[in-house]
């Protein structure tokens, strides 16, 4: 066989055989097979995520009529507008405050739910999740009624004590408060369920060891619970920060950005400019502005997680 291979006429044949066998070897490799099997999903992501993302970048570089390339013209225009900076400020206040309160309330509720005996705990867990499972567009409509200046239950109750009425959605400070309140109400159950799962994964013996070491209730939370939950806290915070930052429905339904654009967040203002105002490139530019802010937050939070990865 070996001598035959050295005959000049058989060289092309040998080359074809080598090609076929290297293809077979490539297919046999696990990484190749894994890539081929995930290819449909990769294509799906490319079509559904990457294409629209790049398309919106492309849109942001066009003029209002979408006929001319203007480069960074839309961004330069935005930077000069006072409303834009107000939206930046409001988005940051809204997202950060809401996430802090959601995390805080979620942690406290999770802690109490964790201490309820298991059979009753399931019922409480289910009930506490209700705000999160109702479509926010629906539940926000109910909140809209609760905030109504004339007929709302809130102002009626306050009236019984001789207080109010409060312009819940009519004054900038109150409107911002109301939006954050509804967002916290809607989002806290997500934190609660994530923290509850994390609490359950902390070994009971660590608490016992801490109790014997002399830690009181608060010290056990500070020195055992929180450090053990750090990664899950970081991930839920990042996730919630992204979702809250991009929140649209609550602000849209409650105030539609008012009064005087003072409660607009990026999503609602992008909608106002792009869809209602008919300037799609400008709307795209606004929505793109969320990306760098969230990227910075993500880098900080994820870097912390990977640094601590070797502890658990």
């Amino acid at each position: 066989m070996v001598e035959v291979a050295f005959q000049p006429t058989s060289v092309p044949q040998a080359r074809t055989a080598r090609k076929a066998s290297s293809l077979r070897n490539a297919l046999k490799r696990k990484s190749t097979m894994a890539f081929l099997m995930t290819l449909p999903l990769i294509l799906l992501i490319a079509i559904m995520v990457i294409y629209p993302a790049f398309y919106s970048i492309h849109l942001a570089t066009l003029n209002k009529a979408m006929t001319k390339y203007v480069g960074f013209g839309n961004f330069q225009f935005l930077f000069k507008r006072e409303t834009f900076w107000m939206v930046v400020e409001q988005s940051c206040i809204f997202a950060i405050t809401a996430v802090i309160f959601k995390a805080l309330i979620g942690f406290i509720v999770a802690h109490f739910a964790h201490n309820i005996p298991s059979r009753k705990q399931r019922k409480w867990r289910g009930m506490l999740l209700v705000p999160w499972v109702i479509p926010p567009a629906m539940s926000t409509l109910a909140w809209l009624w609760l905030f109504d200046p004339s007929y709302s239950a809130f102002n009626y109750t306050l009236g019984l004590f001789g207080a109010g009425p409060i312009p819940w959605l009519g004054q900038t400070a109150w409107a911002r408060f109301s939006i954050i309140l509804v967002n916290v109400w809607f989002g806290a159950p997500f934190f609660m369920i994530m923290y509850l799962a994390a609490l359950k994964s902390v070994p009971e013996q660590l608490y016992e060891a801490a109790a014997i070491d002399g830690a009181n209730w608060w010290q056990r939370i500070w020195y055992v619970t929180l450090p053990m939950m750090r990664n899950i806290i970081a991930i839920t915070t990042l996730f919630s920060l992204i979702v809250t930052f991009a929140n649209f429905d609550i602000t849209r339904i409650l105030t539609a950005g008012g009064p005087l654009d003072s409660t607009h967040v990026f999503a609602t203002w992008a909608f106002r400019l792009g869809i209602e105002g008919g300037d799609i490139p400008l709307g795209a530019s606004v929505s793109l502005f969320m990306a760098p802010i969230l990227a910075i937050a993500a880098i900080f939070i994820l870097r912390d997680i990977s640094r601590r990865g070797n502890e658990a």
Partner: protein, 366 residues
Amino acid sequence: MAEVSLREVVKRYDEVEAVRGIDLDIADHEFVVLVGPSGCGKSTTLRMIAGLEDITGGDIAIGGDVVNDVPPKDRDIAMVFQNYALYPHMTVAENMSFGLRLKHYPKAEIKSRVAEAARMLDITDLIDRKPKQLSGGQRQRVAMGRAIVRNPKVFLFDEPLSNLDAKLRVQMRIEIKKVHQKVRTTTVYVTHDQVEAMTLADRVVVMNKGRIEQIGTPNELYHHPATRFVAGFIGSPAMNFVPCRLEEAGGKLNVRVTDRLAFALPPARAARYANAPRNEKLLLGIRPEHLSEANGHAAPGVENFETVLDVTEPMGMETLVYFTLQGTQVCGRVNPSAGARDGAPLRLAVDLNNMHLLNEGTGAVL
């Protein structure tokens, strides 16, 4: 340092009574091991001493003070857990100093105590590592170090060696004994391994079904077990129990095992069993080490008999032989050169000076 005493201590979980009225006095500096099978209530007892479980009834006192309602942190105890329970986010030094830091000890003292404990346990090089970077044995040392630095009144060990492999277990056993010799702190140690209990304890407490079966030094338990449970639990391989009865023949007391096999009791044993019932069903308790190959020399109290072996287990330094007597499997330990083979006959010698007679019904040792 302090003594620990338990009076009529009961623990009940809903319907189940885990600990059923325990009385136990542990002296200052003493190393007491609670041993028993799973579910015998030994861990629950330890956890009640620690304050991790409420007690349903009775009193627990540490250093003369009743601590029934005192939280764990105020009992001045330290505990080593089976799975170490080290704080994964803290370094070895932080783990060991955690209790002292909570009590606001001066930094210099914390440092010197940690260094001293680390030196004693040979973990000085590991002081800046996190628990994840340590092996099982090293983690166990750190857990012990965490207990030592506190300099508590009482050390509590909850099956600390169960997660280690056999070789490491032997090593750590010696380590624990050395530490106790140095610090002399009153220690309560829970294990299900009777070898650990025998090798470590000043006194062993054998527990079964929530009660104490017997308290005694390792030698007392081995030579003078009070019940069938203790006789069977202490010693490895376990004591053999063969149905038998006592009979008098020619003014001598015999223990009859089968129609064709009876052993004459040596005078000391005959005197002890002089008043034992003659017609009741009894059990002859004999440890494998007292069943060896017959060597031709007649010794007082040693009787020879012929048997056919079922199975042999060569262990190197000795061979375990198994044969059947009265439908019961019996184990003996013979010299590897005795020629014991599966299915072959062998002449064995039983040392009746170390025998026990037990009441089959009550399990009491006569």
